[in-house]
């Protein structure tokens, strides 16, 4: 493995783009369908509980400061079980990358490029994805630094133009507050976590082993998570203010519809392109990180030093998988609603907890043995 190092700030930016990723377009709808007008509170609770998840990842990073997740799995769980689980993790990350291509292709063909065949879009997306991954993590991180101001600028423009058009939003849409009860709220927070913070497990392939200042990076992880959380919360509040809970729940891309409804005077219209650009920026980086994590852990599981020869075959596989994994939108929506939260819970929470537990037990047993030895 060659020595790629990114700075703490680059990591933070990558994490912000990664966490905003798909969440920005899809989550307002699925939260609103569970907790209606309280969706924004679910986002706040979700962001706060993400701190715990991130703290868990940081704890693992501290124990194994020079290892990636694939290596940690092998050293804690033993050779064969470790390899097996890290291959299943490869599939998890790989499937996520293909799912994101599917999302982007689906969004583009249904909302913007109506007459383009979806295969063409998937192939083009996969091409930029492969380009990014082949150029390496450092290049991707620098590109993220370049795109981040664009993202922030577009976000501010979007929020500003919604707030300026005061006849667009109604405060009554947020009422009544906390009406939905505790169980739907927990469920909504769970859905939020499953697409916002559990996927961050793939960051353990980068942090802490490929970061220059791991100590500083820990702090910037928290900053990144809270920034992303604030962005999403603002966007969800706006969606509900403008569209109301019912419409938000019914739409597939509520935040896109939100942007479509903006019209300032007769000169500022069709802001939805802004949202599309923002979303394509974030989804690109999310895709790259997933794909990079998949391919690096694949290489490390098979003890292969250079991952680059595998990018192209993996790229072809990702296109094929993205084309046939979801036969239609209903299948995708049902999968996201029923299976995805559990799937990401297993890798994002259960796996790291299990790792910590086994590591602790092993250490304890070793300690006990050492203590008994001198007596005998």
């Amino acid at each position: 493995m060659e020595n790629v190092k990114i700075s703490a700030r680059q990591l933070a930016i990558l994490v912000i783009l990664f966490s905003v990723g798909t969440t920005i377009l899809v989550i307002p709808g699925s939260l609103a369908s569970v907790v209606k007008q309280d969706a924004w509170m679910a986002a706040i609770f979700g962001t706060v509980s993400s701190f715990l998840v991130v703290a868990l990842y940081i704890a693992i990073g501290r124990i194994f400061p020079a290892m990636t997740l694939a290596e940690i799995l092998e050293s804690v769980l033993g050779k064969w079980l470790g390899k097996f689980i890290s291959l299943s993790f490869v599939f998890f990350a790989f499937f996520d990358a293909s799912d994101l291509i599917y999302y982007a292709g689906n969004f583009l063909t249904t909302q913007i490029l109506l007459y383009t065949p979806i295969e063409a879009i998937h192939i083009i997306l996969a091409c930029i994805l492969l380009m990014g991954v082949r150029l390496g993590l450092e290049t991707v991180a620098r590109a993220a630094e370049l795109f981040f101001p664009v993202f922030i600028f577009l976000f501010v423009l979007l929020v500003g133009s919604v707030l300026l058009t005061s006849d667009l939003w109604k405060l009554q849409n947020l009422e009544p507050i906390l009406f939905t009860g505790i169980k739907p709220m927990i469920r909504a927070v769970f859905i939020f976590l499953s697409s916002f913070s559990f996927p961050l497990i793939v960051i353990l392939m980068i942090f802490p082993s490929s970061v220059k200042q791991p100590k500083k990076a820990e702090k910037s992880l928290f900053i990144a998570i809270s920034t992303a959380g604030v962005c999403l919360t603002i966007l969800i509040i706006l969606t509900i203010l403008v569209l109301g809970p019912e419409t938000s729940a019914r739409q597939m891309y509520p935040s896109y519809n939100l942007a479509q409804s903006i019209k300032i005077g007769d000169f500022l219209q069709r802001i939805e392109a802004i949202l599309a650009i923002m979303w394509l920026i974030t989804i690109f980086f999310k895709m790259v990180i997933y794909f990079y994590a998949a391919i690096i852990s694949f290489g490390q599981t098979l003890n292969i030093r250079d991952y680059r020869p595998f990018t192209f075959p993996f790229g072809m596989l990702v296109v094929v998988l993205s084309l046939y994994s979801h036969p239609n939108v209903t299948h995708s929506a049902k999968f996201d609603y029923e299976i995805w939260p559990v799937y990401s819970l297993i890798y994002g929470l259960a796996l790291p907890l299990l790792l910590l537990l086994i590591y602790g037990l092993k250490k304890y047993i070793k300690h006990e043995k050492k203590r008994k030895l001198p007596l005998e």
Partner: protein
Amino acid sequence: MLGIAVTLVAAIIITAFEVPKMRKKKLTKELWTFLILMGMAVGLGIAESLHLNIPNPLNGIRMVLQPMSDVINGLLK
């Protein structure tokens, strides 16, 4: 038809691009892994363009995780 052609052309270009480099460096293990992956990609790509019924890995995941999902959804109803 177009799908098959694109898959094959892409596979040939990629193989011609990557394999000589690996052979020069005598990376046998890498070469085999590459060829297996490439075979999978070509097979799946052709099967997909012929609209054959490829087993979907998501159905496997769904089968394993559905009970857990039902339990969680039942608890939070």
